[in-house]
Symmetry: none
Subunit: 157 residues, 2 copies
DNA sequence: TAGCGATTCATCCTAAAGTGTGAATTTGAT
DNA sequence: ATCAAATTCACACTTTAGGATGAATCGCTA
């Protein structure tokens, strides 16, 4: 609890400490120079410098960092799918179910089985099952082939 | 040209001006309080406050803003694969080599790394290296994503 | 010729994908 | 209500993919 207090009020404590030290220095300077009244400007200059330094330090420490936003426009290529017609006959012919289609589409989007599982709120094992079924029904060995074939057959985008 | 000089050195001029004004104030204060020697601390305090203020102001004005980059994705529609033109600019921009392109194309054809290795008469490890490089250069995590992105960027069929 | 990028290959390790089998539950149609 | 298909999940296991690192070779170029 003492630790959290210290860390939370670190800056304030530092400020207080600095002020105390500076007051000491001030007093010392006063004693030193009180004899030679003509050293007025030197005294004032020292104080000015010290406190300006303190001010700069304080401002840098306490001020929220300024943010300058740089906006970079990045081109993202998107395939025009306006003239896409879903080949439902092919889907039916292959005997692919709705859920399997969902998984197939997400596979084509480049998601991992784990990500698909999270997206569809089911377990990884379930997606593996669907995935296996899709691969078998499309008569392919890997998901990359499945995606390629599915796109060729126009059963997904 | 005068204008640019002014704008360029605005802060420095401001600082100089402030200093001049403060010196005046100092002199005035000196004249005012030189009679009552006991007002030493008040004088010092005023200087301290003024210069601390100046320090804070200076720091806030001169501190460099932290840059924050925001990337905005801009959609760009590309043509259908029927009138496919290889996007060589993109390939060069991404720094993908000839051999890596070979591997990428075969990956898109749904071949496994082993099959690609056999096709190109090199070892499996070599294909893994190329594959990893391609994934990194395309900034994706899986080969399905790589294929999808590469097709979108029109760097493969 | 010294340096650089590209290509090749290796080893070790982790993560993801895929196979096979079995089973509980849900849903739709007869 | 019942049967078939669909959906869900588990577990054990194999294969494939991917990451990190180091290193040898080759061709091109300053």
């Amino acid at each position: 609890m003492v630790k959290t207090f210290l860390s939370k009020n670190k800056l304030i404590l530092l400020y207080g400490l600095s002020s105390a030290i500076l007051l000491f220095v001030l007093k010392w300077l006063e004693l030193k120079f009180v004899i030679m009244q003509n050293a007025f400007e030197i005294y004032a200059g020292c104080i000015a410098l010290l406190f300006m330094g303190l001010g700069i330090w304080l401002a840098l420490k306490l001020s929220k960092p300024k943010k300058e936003t740089i906006i970079i426009e990045k081109e993202v290529f998107i395939k025009d799918t306006s003239d896409f017609v879903l080949n439902e006959k092919e889907i039916e012919k292959l005997g692919i179910s709705k859920r399997e289609m969902d998984v197939l589409q997400l596979m084509a989007d480049g998601l991992s089985n784990q990500e698909i599982a999270e997206r569809l709120f089911v377990s990884l094992n379930t997606i593996k099952t669907h995935s296996s079924n899709v691969l078998e029904k499309l008569d392919v060995k890997r998901r990359t082939q499945a995606v390629e074939k599915a796109k060729r057959l126009a059963i997904i985008h």
